[in-house]
């Protein structure tokens, strides 16, 4: 067994360790899933545009994009985790804790805007780092480790805030982080989502970190045996997810102009659903950022459209659930076909 560290750019690790499967085929399959998700998105938009004249208007498109921002940012981070074959349940309440800490830094401690925001981001990254250590070093199953972190974050958010919302009304410029319009007509939160999506895309497809993320998801043991420090990279993956959680925390706090300590539970499942609809496999080793963005858009277009049609809230949930089922089913169907 070769204990020496892997050389950067080692051709052997340039591609996931999945081995026999033809790279071109893998590529095509990924494209197919994306085009399927993209097709679904287009069909939904066309359907709702016909169903309601009020749907396809810029003001509504802007609302849909803004509604996608928080869940979308959470989904971006958790895409990395799911590609490694893991899961992160702590992103919803972790987001809330990051929002509360941003409030503590900016309102209670009166720190400068940039410092407070960075503090909020680091809160998220720290939670992710702890998740990573628990999973990579202490070998806790990701489901359990992040479930525990979900509860810890929820509890801490309540304790630290004193079970009260923290209002940012005295903090100049904070609300503009999400609701300012650097591009006229488009809230900054949407801009942040797109910038983070590009960053995530570059991380996943153009860096060693991205390649190891896929490699760990395809076969962690083989990756480790080929000389990659999988523990280290797993910790990095969860820390990156935590950092995105921190971004979501800052954005939601800015949008509400307050840190609401009681919300957040359930956001993680919506984010995970967006990732899965976007074609990332829960089994690991396969996924894309583009898919996640489309998945998050499908979720918010669906919910927005159903609301515009005044469909009852109860039925909205049923429809979203069915869409998730169909997305996962078509995915497994295709996998089975390509395996045979």
């Amino acid at each position: 067994m070769n204990a020496s560290p892997v050389l950067e750019g080692n051709p052997k690790t340039d591609q996931p360790v999945s081995g026999r499967s033809d790279n071109a085929l893998t590529f095509l399959r990924a494209k197919l899933q994306q085009s399927l998700a993209f097709g679904t998105l287009i069909v939904l938009v066309i359907f709702f545009s016909i169903a309601s004249e009020n749907f396809f208007q810029w003001s509504n498109i802007s609302s849909i994009l803004l509604a996608t921002a928080v869940i979308g940012i959470l989904a971006l981070g958790t895409t990395f985790v799911i590609i490694t074959g893991g899961i992160d349940l702590s992103i919803g309440t972790g987001m809330t804790l990051a929002a509360v800490m941003t409030g503590i830094f900016l309102v209670n401690m009166q720190l400068p805007l940039l410092v407070g925001v960075i503090g909020g981001l680091l809160t998220g990254a720290l939670m992710g780092f702890i998740n990573g250590v628990n999973i990579a070093i202490l070998k806790l199953p990701p489901f359990i480790a992040t479930l525990a972190m979900m509860m810890i974050a929820q509890g801490l958010a309540l304790v630290i805030s004193g079970v009260r919302p923290i209002y940012f009304s005295g903090v100049d410029g904070f609300k503009d982080i999400a609701l300012g319009t650097l591009i006229p007509g488009l809230p900054n939160a949407v801009l942040i989502l797109f910038i983070l999506a590009i960053v995530a895309y570059l991380l996943l497809s153009k860096t060693l970190f991205g390649r190891y993320t896929f490699a760990i998801g395809s076969n962690e043991e083989a990756t480790r045996l080929s000389g990659v420090n999988t523990r280290k990279w797993l910790i990095v993956v969860y820390t990156v997810a935590g950092l995105f959680t921190g971004f979501a925390g800052v954005v939601i706090a800015s949008r509400l102009d307050s840190a609401q300590p009681q919300i957040g539970m359930g956001y993680e499942l919506q984010a995970i659903a967006a990732v899965i609809i976007g074609g990332t496999s829960l089994l690991g080793g396969r996924g894309s950022i583009m898919g996640t963005v489309i998945g998050a858009l499908i979720m918010s277009v669906l919910i927005n459209g159903l609301r515009i049609m005044s469909i009852q809230t109860e039925w909205q949930n049923v429809v979203v659930g069915v869409v998730i089922l169909i997305a996962v089913f078509t995915d497994t169907l295709r996998q089975r076909r390509s395996a045979s």
Partner: protein, 328 residues
């Protein structure tokens, strides 16, 4: 084998009861001293504690407890959907054998067997905010939510000139306050204001973000919408945020809210929100403790203690009577 199993079981039960005894040390002490030195413990099991409303109830309960020289404990689940968790808290409260229990039911049916346990243990139960469908509850301190919803409808009708389209952003289609505040509003509009149409009712779980997205969609779907009624703090603030994000003027949409909280008080003061219905959460806390105290001392409180509700807007927000029931 059989005895072996029994021994294991016994050991487990013993360990469990030991740990329970450890947890409930304070309760036991109160019970032991209850009849002798007159120290009275009242255990309150609330619907939650995270919402500012419940913090205000707790504050009222603690105030009255201090005046009466009794001890209150205040417990509640993390979310108002955790019916099962709340029942476990109620059972834990019964096990501690306090002098009385105050309970706010998340689900009116699920609590019935536990009320039987309380009765068997001889612990009187009073209720606050929302009752249980058992006869054992001896008094309830609550807001008449149907009446409060109807008052919201009257004010909304007045503000939009008695005609046009309105919508509701609800916080729950299940729990009693969500249902009654909605139904009180709908019934009053339908019976008294034939020219007003309720075009949509959707639920945001009291989540500020979800409620904002819902309100924006409603405004998008119904361009002639004149008003939105938000049935609790989170719902109402969601509507306020939606109007802010869309950049609508004060006159374009009439917002009627419910409860208080800093953001809602600000929105009413600056005119974004027309006004809101407030309950008297501190009064609810005070009255439930008072009712429990009366029963412990052999008195009979009123069966239903209506703690009242009020309309408040920019004009009366500073009034002493109103300011006393608002919380930040």
């Amino acid at each position: 084998m059989k005895t072996g199993k029994k021994v294991t079981l016994f050991a487990a039960v013993a360990a469990l009861s030991l740990s329970l005894a450890g947890c409930s040390g304070a309760g036991d002490a109160a019970e032991a001293g209850g009849s002798d030195d007159g120290e009275i413990t009242i255990a309150l099991v609330s619907k939650g504690f995270q919402h500012q409303f419940w913090q205000a109830v707790k504050q009222g309960a603690e105030q009255r407890a201090e005046e009466l020289g009794v001890t209150v404990t205040f417990d509640g689940p993390a979310a108002e959907t955790e019916i099962d968790g709340q029942l476990q808290m109620l059972q834990a409260a019964i096990d501690k054998k306090p002098d009385a229990i105050g309970f706010a039911a998340l689900d009116p049916e699920a609590c019935i067997p536990l009320y039987e346990n309380a009765e068997a243990a001889g612990i009187p139960v009073v209720e606050f905010d929302a009752g249980c469908s058992s006869d054992y509850g001896q008094a309830i301190a609550k807001t008449d939510s149907l009446g409060a919803g109807a008052l919201a409808a009257d004010r909304m009708a007045e503000l939009i000139g008695g005609e046009g389209e309105v919508a509701i952003v609800g916080h729950s289609q299940i729990n009693s306050t969500g249902v009654e505040r909605r139904d009180g509003f709908i019934d009053r509009i339908e019976s008294e204001y034939p020219d007003i149409e309720i075009v949509d009712t959707q639920y945001g779980d009291g989540d500020h973000l979800k409620s904002a997205d819902i309100a924006k969609t409603m405004i998008q779907a119904h361009p002639d919408l004149k008003g939105i009624y938000g049935t609790n703090e989170g719902s109402a603030i969601g509507v306020v945020n939606a109007v802010g994000e869309l950049g609508l003027g004060e006159d374009e949409l009439t917002i009627v809210g419910f409860d208080s909280g800093q953001a809602q008080l600000d929105a009413i003061s600056d005119g974004t929100m027309a006004g809101a219905i407030t309950q008297n959460p501190i009064g609810i806390g005070e009255e439930v403790v008072q009712a429990a105290y009366d029963i412990i001392n052999g008195d009979t409180p009123e069966e239903v203690i209506d703690t009242g509700y009020f309309w408040y807007d920019a004009a009366n927000i500073e009034d002493e009577e109103i300011a006393a029931v608002l919380y930040k």
